[in-house]
């Protein structure tokens, strides 16, 4: 018994550290949630790390088979507004590469350089079925820094972080397997609006919007006059050259801007700003979004939301409701559901958040879309992941039951067709202490 435990631990440790090989595999017999439809007794075939077929036929001969009879097969979940691989311990500032506190570089802040493939947050999230993530800079108002009994002392904005500039930096897409986790850097720009954005501008919303428009104007001026700027023949600009460069694709409507905003009035102003400036926005938060759902839908603006937000935590969330996800979806808004607490340590809660949205009116199919297909589409990865269909990445999770239920657990997790170890530091701790920790030898000898 003891030896078996030791061996299991050793094997697990190796699996955590070593690279795994992509395998061609067929997953058969399960209830397949493709992301957009359901196939009973389905077969998912993966070759070369990608899905090649999803249907009901038999597994191709000679392929390794994962028997999913009685189980549910789903695409790996896509966490948005996530801190995965960007931080280890919340209060240890040296581990936090999600928030930059200098005002000399804001929009140009590129967190992809700070991502750690060996972060112990990744295996934990995988056990919750998360296989891809949009890692997003954290700023006051994004909620990423809050942590209950620490929050009394954070003292630096609602989220415990304070961003000195109008922009918090650029998000990246990662996958949660292998040593090369970066899928694409600089997929979106982030900016706090509402109370947090106003704070940056001096305290008032009216200052922030004006400053924002002025910044876009300066960006365009710079873009048109780079040669003049280089020979110092352009008037002084408020942002650094690096920030201006980073903002050009935003000003040109090529890079989406993730706007953290909650108050209905602020949402309307942001929609108007986006229309006037030709900026492509993604709303983040939108706690009062349901009050202006039709306007958001008409603007074809997607929303990243936290479906558990239902308290008037401050004066920009007075209308927060558990039904926000359902109402926005019903109005035709494309929604993506977020994890908890900045989505680093609690990214695994994504599926519970989706489940709660269902119990508050969101159709089950829409909830699955909101953690698979929609986030991929919102960030421009339509068909590349977040969905089980030919050509998509082989990111598949086999669940013991409905993946939104806490009592379900994954029995297999594949990323790019590579089966991931169902192991993490927390499970190693569990196994070390599962017999009570009072044996003849201290637990530290137990691996």
């Amino acid at each position: 018994m003891r030896i078996n435990t030791l061996l299991a631990g050793a094997v697990a440790a190796i699996a955590l550290a070593g690279p795994a090989l992509a395998q061609d595999v067929a997953i058969t017999g399960g209830r397949v949630l493709t992301g957009t439809s359901v196939i009973e007794n389905g077969t998912v075939v993966i070759r070369g790390g990608k899905v090649v077929s999803v249907g009901t036929g038999a597994a191709p001969a000679g392929l390794r088979v994962i028997d999913a009879r009685g189980k549910v097969v789903a695409p790996g979940f896509v966490a948005v507004d996530s801190g995965l691989a960007g931080t280890e311990v919340g209060s240890v500032r040296g581990t936090n590469d999600l928030a930059n506190r200098a005002n000399t570089l804001t929009a140009a802040f590129d967190l992809s350089y700070g991502l750690d493939p060996w972060s112990f947050t990744l295996p934990v999230a995988r056990l919750g079925g998360v296989t891809r993530a949009v890692v997003t800079p954290q700023h006051g108002g994004s909620g990423g820094g809050h942590s209950h009994d620490d929050s009394d002392f954070a003292g630096a904005g609602a989220g415990g972080y304070q961003t000195p500039g109008l922009f918090a930096g650029q998000a990246a897409v990662i996958k949660l397997g292998g040593s090369d986790i970066l899928v694409k850097p600089r997929v979106a720009m982030t900016a706090p609006f509402g109370e947090a954005g106003a704070t940056v501008a001096g305290g008032a919303r009216g200052a922030e919007f004006v400053l924002f428009k002025e910044t876009l104007a300066e960006t365009r001026l710079y873009a048109r006059n780079k040669a003049a700027y280089d020979r110092a023949a352009l008037r002084d600009l408020s942002l650094s050259r690096a920030d201006l460069e980073a903002l050009i694709p935003v000003a040109e409507g090529r890079m989406p801007l993730i706007v953290t905003v909650n108050r209905a009035a602020d949402i309307r102003q942001v929609l108007r700003l986006a229309r006037e400036e030709g900026v492509k926005v993604i709303l983040d938060g939108a706690a009062e979004g349901w009050l202006v759902a039709d306007e958001i839908a008409a603007a074809k603006v997607p929303v990243l939301l936290h479906p558990l937000t239902n308290l008037p935590s401050n004066f920009e969330m007075r209308a927060a409701r558990m039904q926000n996800a359902a109402a926005l979806n019903a109005a035709g808004v494309v929604i993506a559901i977020k994890g908890n607490e900045g989505g680093a340590h609690r990214a695994r809660d994504l599926r519970y958040n989706a489940g709660n949205a269902v119990s508050h009116g969101l159709p089950f199919a829409a909830a699955i879309q909101a953690i698979t297909v929609n986030p991929a589409r919102i960030f421009g990865f339509d068909g590349q992941f977040g969905e089980l269909k030919p050509g998509a990445a082989g990111d598949v999770v086999v669940w013991s039951g409905d993946p939104l239920e806490p009592l379900s657990q994954p029995s297999a997790v594949l990323i790019d067709g590579v089966e991931q170890p169902l192991q993490a530091r927390n499970l190693l701790l569990r196994d070390r202490y599962r017999t009570g920790g009072e044996g003849a030898m201290p637990p530290a000898y137990g691996n």
Partner: protein, 498 residues
């Protein structure tokens, strides 16, 4: 007057509250206690009577409960799957409530008394009301703005003199959302900036204009203590002690030395009438209450090693720790906690937000629950999580099963019901569906361990406090009236049902 009662046979009552499995034994002990103040506590002669407010022992309940309970009806809830909280699962069960108390719990053949309303709960689940032993509702209310930030008297490492009940804003909309999550009882604690944060208070989760109107009658007080990073960070950053873990412990010890001295002087004066009693000191009075067992220690303590040190501090000064809160590493010392009869309150999902939370595992409750005599509790410390303690328990149950442990739902429900009641000393009154207890009952739309389960009806003392289908039983706080979104339906849901 439980507070008076506790003065005399306090150890017996405390032991009972701490985890005696026999509830009848608990009840006997409590009932046997005198209903009036004991001889030692009451002034024996006229010359020991002091001016109002100067003798803390003379009036131990200066802010008494005015809780009345909601209008109630005798009823029998029939047809549901009943999880009693005390370990039983009854299919097609019957729960009979008379005059706000549980009078019968059993199978389909349980007789329904004449005149009782029959509540059809077929296809649904029934549990005791959920109890959150660690909440800051009312003291850190919504909106969480500076003017309402009333949970931490972070002005001195020892603020044992403050009482959370004096910070509570009963209009916090969070009380309503917690009730919609099945929460019928909460212990509201002051925050964790201090070694001694002050007294907590246990509330019935009913809407009220005043704090007293929510106060759980005769519930014992809890004193919030905090280990670890919070006190040393808060005061260390001010170049003040404590700045370290060892500074923390020195602070606890110094305080209890002073409390022993204070208590001895009062005891001597009350016994002999000689000399002059010390000037009443609210800080020392609370700590003296800890020493005589009437105030329960609710100790914020994450790490296994720190819990072991706190147990030694308690032994050094002769008091009992009732519950460790945020016991992220309880699983590392589960046998020790069970032997000492200390409850451990935990999260399932929280981890990694600071060093002392680094080793948080989802299996914590399951592993801590395993030894004989243990008392595992799941708590929230959070206005959102309190709404879904059933889901937090479900995730803990799931993790335990993933680890190969055979844990039944009828057992796991105790983590948020009966064990929670034990851990704050109210298990005689609530926490399980057993005869004689308060009729705190939740009817769930589905198995409460399902993510899709919603509380359909919540009864407190047999009074309907929340009905998911009836806006008339979805209370709205004063703050919410007329705010944006007020009265507007979001996807067919009327106001009040956030």
């Amino acid at each position: 007057m439980l507070f008076s009662r506790l003065r005399g046979p306090s150890l017996a009552v405390l032991t009972c509250a701490l985890g005696a499995l026999s509830l009848s034994a608990c009840a006997t002990t409590g009932d046997a206690a005198p209903k009036t103040q004991t001889a030692s506590a009451a002034p024996a002669s006229k010359d020991r009577t002091m001016a109002p407010g100067l003798d803390g022992w003379a009036n131990q309940d200066p802010y008494p409960s005015t809780y009345r309970g909601l209008p109630r009806q005798d009823m029998a809830i029939v047809g549901a799957t009943v999880l009693t909280g005390a370990g039983q699962k009854i299919q097609n069960g019957v729960v009979v409530v008379t005059d706000g108390r549980i009078v019968a719990v059993g199978g389909a053949d349980t007789p329904v008394p004449a005149g009782h309303q029959v509540v059809d709960a077929r296809g649904r689940y029934v549990t005791p009301g959920i109890i959150d032993i660690h909440s800051h509702l009312g003291v850190y209310p919504s909106p969480g703005v500076q003017g309402m930030s009333d949970g931490n008297e972070a002005t001195n490492p020892n603020t044992a003199q403050v009482w959370a009940e004096h910070s509570i804003w009963p209009q916090d909309p969070g009380f309503n959302t917690a009730r919609a999550g099945g929460v019928t009882t909460m212990q509201i604690l002051p925050g964790s900036a201090n070694l001694f944060g002050g007294r907590g208070v246990t509330l019935r989760n009913v809407p009220s204009v005043t704090m007293q109107g929510m106060k759980f009658p005769n519930a014992p007080y809890g004193l919030k203590m905090a280990c670890g990073e919070n006190p040393s960070r808060v005061y260390g950053s001010r170049n003040q002690s404590p700045a370290t873990g060892m500074g923390n412990v020195a602070g606890y010890r110094a305080a209890f030395i002073a409390a022993r001295d204070y208590k001895d002087k009062w005891d001597k004066w009350r016994e002999t009438g000689q000399g002059t009693p010390p000037t009443r000191n609210l800080q020392l009075e609370t700590l003296a209450g800890v020493l005589d067992g009437s105030v329960l220690i609710q100790n914020h303590c994450y790490r296994a090693d720190e819990m072991a040190v706190m147990l030694d501090v308690a032994k050094e000064f002769g008091y009992k720790i009732t519950t460790f809160h945020h016991a992220v590493e309880a699983y590392k010392v589960a046998p020790l906690l069970a032997r000492e009869g200390v409850c451990a309150a935990m999260w399932t999902g929280w981890w990694g937000f600071k060093m002392e939370a680094l080793d948080g595992i989802e299996e914590n409750a399951a592993l801590t629950d395993a030894p004989e005599g243990s008392c595992a509790v799941i708590h929230s410390d959070d206005a959102e999580l309190i709404q879904r303690l059933n889901q937090e328990a479900a995730a803990a149950l799931s993790a335990g099963r993933r680890a190969g442990m055979n844990i039944a739902e009828e057992h796991a429900i105790s983590w948020i019901t009966l064990n929670a009641a034990k851990s704050i000393g109210i298990d005689k009154e609530t926490g399980s569906l057993e005869n004689g207890k308060r009729a705190d009952v939740v009817i769930w739309s589905a198995d409460p361990f399902s993510i899709y389960a919603r509380a359909d009806q919540v009864f407190i003392d047999g009074g309907l406090a929340y009905d998911r289908a009836n806006p008339a039983f979805q209370p709205v706080s004063d703050f919410e009236l007329g705010q944006p979104g007020f009265g507007q339906a979001a996807v067919g849901v009327a106001q009040g049902a956030r």
